[in-house]
């Protein structure tokens, strides 16, 4: 027998081993790093976030100062991305637009994520009528085209940033709820949850120690995958005039303002469009990269 084994001896061995061992997070990061696209996505998003944070420092001009005599100027040394119809510096407006766009995106994700994850958890874990009620509500909301429904809600609530967040959140939580629910269902049926019951674990312990930790990766991936949808949807609402109101600059409203001058001053709409495109691309790359990094054996379909 190994009765001679003392805790100190074991501890020393284990401590030595731990030095060499990488944590699970480090493992996810090392897999993420190896994925070139994910890394590019990360860099794009990081740049956008830095731009948003340091907008006042980075912007060469005041984004709101109009200069009627210098309207629709082509890119020059003074205005690297030209000026808009009111003579405002486009680069500065786009830099400030990053702030507005990203914070709206984050607010939408927080709003729909909180509702969606909570309801998805309840539906998945408790099943029965709780599940039926929540999932029928999801079915009803999803039977409308997303943007039409969001427009209707935003129309009722009136214009404004927060109403855009609420409108898109009410529509968008359904995706979160569905994904989280199906993940919880599969975890609930898993052998390790039955094993937990077979050693006498209580229900709260099973939820906290077995179900939630295994659902966290799904939630994180969902956030990154839903972010582009939220960005595009909010830009769409701004474009349609329901969201961010002038003179505040958001990418959606800049595209909208530039559409009358597409031939004279194509840089207005195109640059804003490119900003949206790159940010969306960045989040998509991160989302895909995280999915692969969390679960390398998962089906990619």
């Amino acid at each position: 027998m190994e009765d001679t084994l003392t805790y100190e001896e074991i501890k020393k061995d284990i401590d030595n081993l731990k030095q060499e061992k990488t944590s699970q997070l480090a493992l996810v990061w090392s897999r993420f790093k190896r994925n070139k696209l994910a890394l590019i996505g990360g860099i794009i998003v990081l740049i956008m976030v830095l731009i948003a944070i340091f907008a006042p420092v980075l912007a060469p001009h005041d984004p709101y100062r109009t200069a009627p005599l210098r309207r629709l100027e082509a890119p020059s040394f003074e205005h690297p991305l030209g000026t808009d119809a009111m003579g405002r510096d486009m680069l500065s407006r786009l830099i400030y637009g990053a702030r507005v766009e990203l914070s709206i995106g984050i607010l939408i994700i927080l709003f729909e994520g909180t509702i969606g994850i909570t309801l998805g958890l309840l539906a998945g874990y408790f099943g029965g009528w709780v599940d039926s009620v929540i999932m029928r509500l999801v079915d009803i909301l999803r039977s409308f085209p997303v943007i039409i429904l969001a427009m209707a809600i935003a129309g009722v609530l009136g214009q404004g940033v927060y109403n855009v967040v609420i409108a898109l959140g009410i529509v968008g939580w359904t995706t979160f709820a569905r994904m989280v629910r199906s993940k919880i269902l599969s975890i609930k049926e898993s052998d390790y949850v039955e094993a937990a019951r077979s050693i006498g674990e209580s229900t709260p312990s099973i939820i906290i120690r077995y179900i939630l930790p295994n659902a966290v990766s799904t939630a994180i991936i969902m956030v990154c995958i839903m972010m582009p949808t939220a960005l595009i949807a909010s830009a769409t609402l701004s474009f349609l005039g329901l969201g961010v109101q002038p003179p505040i600059a958001s990418w959606g409203s800049i595209i909208s303002a530039g559409r009358d001058y597409l031939l004279q001053a194509p840089w207005i709409s195109t640059t804003a469009g490119l900003f949206i495109m790159f940010t969306v691309l960045g989040f998509n790359f991160i989302g895909d990269g995280l999915r692969d990094a969390f679960d390398p054996t998962a089906d990619r379909s």
Partner: protein, 318 residues
């Protein structure tokens, strides 16, 4: 082991799952005595209710009818607290080691849970020593503690699963096809390990398998299930020498043998019928080569016939 103390007893136990097409009688009135210290092998085709029966006996599933006695005490009405105590006396080893450990916990945490849940060891120190002792007795090393399940091989994981089942120091261990997901070379090692532990700890095994040869080697007694019912039960030597129920005969003769001179006349024909709408009378009659008129009308009682428990009209009750 010459005592014949019955440690676990099931009496007409039933499990009915309601479904849209009708009730599924997964386990349909099974009687069973598990004798302390034996290896009881349970065989049957997949879907016959083997796993469900084991979950009922473990009280992981609530039965729809019948009673289960553990050491003479009826456990069917046990409350949460009593069930928690029961979890220390009976444990379960799963078929697939890749899915039966929590992937977000290290091996240490996976193995520490039974100690913590039942307060079997105090503090990190004591638990660590216990876990290392367990790991070593399973042929694993202390260093495996800090690994995550995905860093271990299938065989190593199954050793951890066995270790977790033994952590509570149980009396009965249910083994639900514990080797069918492993490579053949690993299977033999796990089986040897299981045999060794059984002798050391004086355990009772309830071994589920569809591998007839395996069951033959390891069991003291075997039970044969068909479509939710027990059809034959007895000592392993006698059963293989002279299987009585036509289904048992078919099942045993479907095992490929190195000497194919044996007759293959009783090989099973047809498919297992649906448990939603099982055949009348004896469930086996549509596939039975020795079907009689009575078989379609009356279910044969599962009891001693010519010295062995069989459910078949071919034999008269003793």
């Amino acid at each position: 082991m010459n005592s014949t103390e019955v440690i676990l007893q099931a009496d007409k136990i039933q499990k009915i799952f309601p479904s849209k097409e009708g009730d599924v009688r997964a386990v349909d009135g099974v009687n069973l005595d598990l004798i302390s210290g034996e290896v009881f092998g349970l065989v049957g085709e997949s879907g016959c209710g083997k796993s469900t029966l084991s979950r009922l006996l473990l009280r992981l599933l609530d039965s729809s009818g019948g009673s289960i006695k553990f050491k003479g005490e009826d456990i069917t009405g046990f409350d949460k607290k009593q069930l928690k105590m029961l979890r220390r006396q009976m444990s379960l080893v799963f078929q697939d080691p890749h899915t039966s450990l929590n992937p977000r916990m290290t091996i240490y945490d996976n193995l520490a849970r039974p100690f913590k849940v039942h307060n079997l060891a105090e503090g990190r120190e004591e638990i660590t020593v216990e876990i290392v002792r367990l790991l070593k007795s399973m042929g694993l090393q202390a260093e495996h503690m800090i690994r995550y399940p995905h860093e271990l091989s299938g065989g190593q994981k199954q050793r951890v699963v066995v270790a977790r089942a033994l952590a509570v120091d149980p009396e009965v261990v249910f083994l639900d096809e514990p080797t069918s997901a492993l490579d053949v070379s690993v299977q033999a090692k796990i089986l040897k390990l299981l045999a060794k532990i059984k002798d050391e700890k004086d355990l009772t095994y309830f071994f589920i398998s569809h591998d007839i040869n395996l069951i033959r080697v390891i069991s003291d007694r075997i039970g044969v299930m068909y479509l939710g019912r027990m059809v034959e039960q007895g000592e392993v030597a006698g059963m293989f020498k002279e299987p009585m129920h036509p289904y048992t005969r078919g099942l045993f003769s479907s095992v490929p043998e190195p000497t194919p001179a044996r007759k293959l006349d009783s090989v099973l024909m047809g498919e297992v019928p649906s448990p939603v709408n099982p055949p009348s009378g004896c469930h086996f009659h549509p596939r039975c080569p020795e079907k009689m008129a009575i078989c379609e009308q009356e279910s044969p009682v599962f009891n001693y016939r010519q010295g062995r428990k069989v459910a078949c009209h071919l034999y008269n009750l003793d």
